[in-house]
């Protein structure tokens, strides 16, 4: 009897130009009806070869590059790069500088998670409402960034050895006014979505990443914590004085899209707690140490890592005593988290693939660098 013919699968492009791929990113999905048989990711549309360009510029001139890799959390990127250079050149950062850096990194995490959680709600179909609420609060954070660093998105605020300028006078009062409003919006967003049966039906048991796969694929950030692995660089390898602050790490149950969503929501609350503690104990003194413009660190290499909103963001620098780094490499958490997309989506439907992609919360700038 001839082999039974199924409806023949065809290749469908969830292409670079698609409303919910969070940027210029393409998945070539071989599809049989609604089921996805095979998914092949195509990246590189946003490749600007930053790591090569960085080799011709001095250490200070490279700071604006880091703003543009993960354009949703530029403060965290700056922090990572500056830590790596300080480790390489063995520079001490004053107390006040470290505290300001912590405040900025945590505010940036809240802004990035606003975008991540909102976009995820969009992918499940809660059209525009949650993302609009989160965007309204994110605007306030961006205003605060503009007040301190001069730019909303690509702040370029941190310098090697500290921060570029001291905090403006009205900074503390602005942040203290912002925090209760943000907490109210987080509660609203959570109330609208977390308890919603349709949201649970769409996100629970979807794109499950068991903890062994999470660890083997070296995932990090909400992806890793979603599978129940309690790993956060701020606790495991504290930098910038994170050990002084009292905060908890949220971890999930099954590693599905729903866990990652509630983790991001909870992380926003924890970050606000850290910002409050940092503001209370803000030390006096200089905000940064003097560093020569044409810094020539001793030969050698250094790797510094921070907990960016997407996971473990690492900077690897090799110096040959020249004014510019011999090798400048970034460990992009989005790209590494993306490697499990294939295991998550194959077998599921297209709608689940979109939700899975949304739950990873990728930034294509960081993937393609």
């Amino acid at each position: 009897m001839s082999e039974i013919v199924q409806s023949e699968p065809f290749v469908m492009n969830i292409g670079p130009q698609h409303p919910s791929t969070h940027g210029v990113f393409r998945v070539k999905a071989t599809v049989d009806g609604e089921r996805i048989i095979d998914a092949e990711m195509v990246i590189g549309y946003l490749h600007r070869s930053m790591e090569k360009l960085a080799e011709e510029r001095t250490y200070t001139q490279n700071i604006p590059f880091t703003d543009r890799t993960d354009y949703l959390s530029s403060m965290s990127n700056n922090l990572g790069y500056c830590l790596a250079v300080e480790k390489l050149a063995d520079i001490e950062v004053p107390e006040r500088g470290q505290a300001i850096r912590v405040i900025m990194a945590e505010l940036q995490r809240v802004a990035s998670h606003c975008m991540g959680a909102g976009a995820f709600a969009n992918d499940t179909g809660a059209w525009q409402t949650p993302i609009m609420w989160f965007m309204r609060e994110r605007e306030k954070i961006l205003d605060i960034f503009e007040m301190t660093s001069g730019a909303r998105l690509t702040c370029n605020y941190m310098r090697i050895g500290g921060v570029a300028f001291d905090l403006p006078e009205s900074f503390e009062e602005e942040v203290r006014a912002f925090i209760p409003a943000m907490r109210q919006t987080i509660d609203d967003g959570e109330g609208l979505l977390s308890g919603n049966e349709i949201f649970i039906a769409r996100a629970r048991n979807v794109a499950v990443v068991p903890h062994e796969m999470a660890i083997n694929a070296s995932l990090s950030g909400p992806m890793l914590r979603g599978s129940g692995v309690a790993w956060d660089i701020r606790k495991a390898d504290p930098y910038c004085g994170y050990e002084q602050y009292d905060f908890e790490i949220p971890i999930g149950y099954q590693g599905d899209a729903y866990d990652r969503f509630i983790i991001r929501i909870e992380e926003m609350r924890q970050s606000l707690k850290i910002v409050e503690q940092a503001l209370d104990g803000l030390p006096g003194g200089p905000h940064s140490t003097e560093v020569p413009l044409a810094l020539r660190p001793p030969a050698g290499e250094a790797y510094a890592r921070i907990e960016s909103p997407r996971g473990e963001l690492g900077y690897y620098l090799v110096s040959d005593e020249g004014p510019s780094p011999y090798r400048f490499h970034i460990r992009p958490p989005s790209l590494i988290n993306l490697t499990v997309l294939r295991e998550m989506t194959v077998g599921g439907s297209i709608a689940d693939a979109i939700v899975a992609l949304g739950s990873i919360d990728i930034v294509v700038g960081e993937i393609d660098r």
Binding site: M1, S2, I4, V5, Q6
Partner: protein, 104 residues
């Protein structure tokens, strides 16, 4: 102009013969089924025409019979199309004149 039985019966007759031609001449199984549906529709039309114009003590009989014809037509269409799909699955064709082998 007053409409009477002959008008509706002519339309029914034409529809029936057209349905028959379609059922006999189409190559695709779905085409044959369309012809059969047309014939059934023509029959319904004549039944309702008789129920409206014909002299009988129970004119409602036409309506009842038409509702049964509709039910049977729906059931028959479902089974016929299910057969067409399953034949396509095993023989990769629904061409009526190629399906002449009794064993699969």
């Amino acid at each position: 102009m007053t409409l009477d039985l002959e008008h509706f019966l002519t339309v029914g007759a034409l529809l029936f013969s057209l349905g028959l031609v379609i059922a006999l001449s189409k190559r695709n199984a779905v085409g044959v089924l369309m012809g059969i549906e047309l014939m059934l529709n023509a029959v319904n039309l004549t039944l309702i025409a008789f129920s409206r114009f014909g002299a009988s003590e129970q004119p409602i009989a036409g309506h009842v019979f038409v509702s049964f014809v509709i039910t049977v037509a729906a059931a028959e269409a479902a089974v016929a199309l299910a057969m067409a799909v399953s034949i396509y699955r095993t023989r990769e064709t629904v061409e009526v004149d190629q399906l002449d082998l009794l064993r699969l």
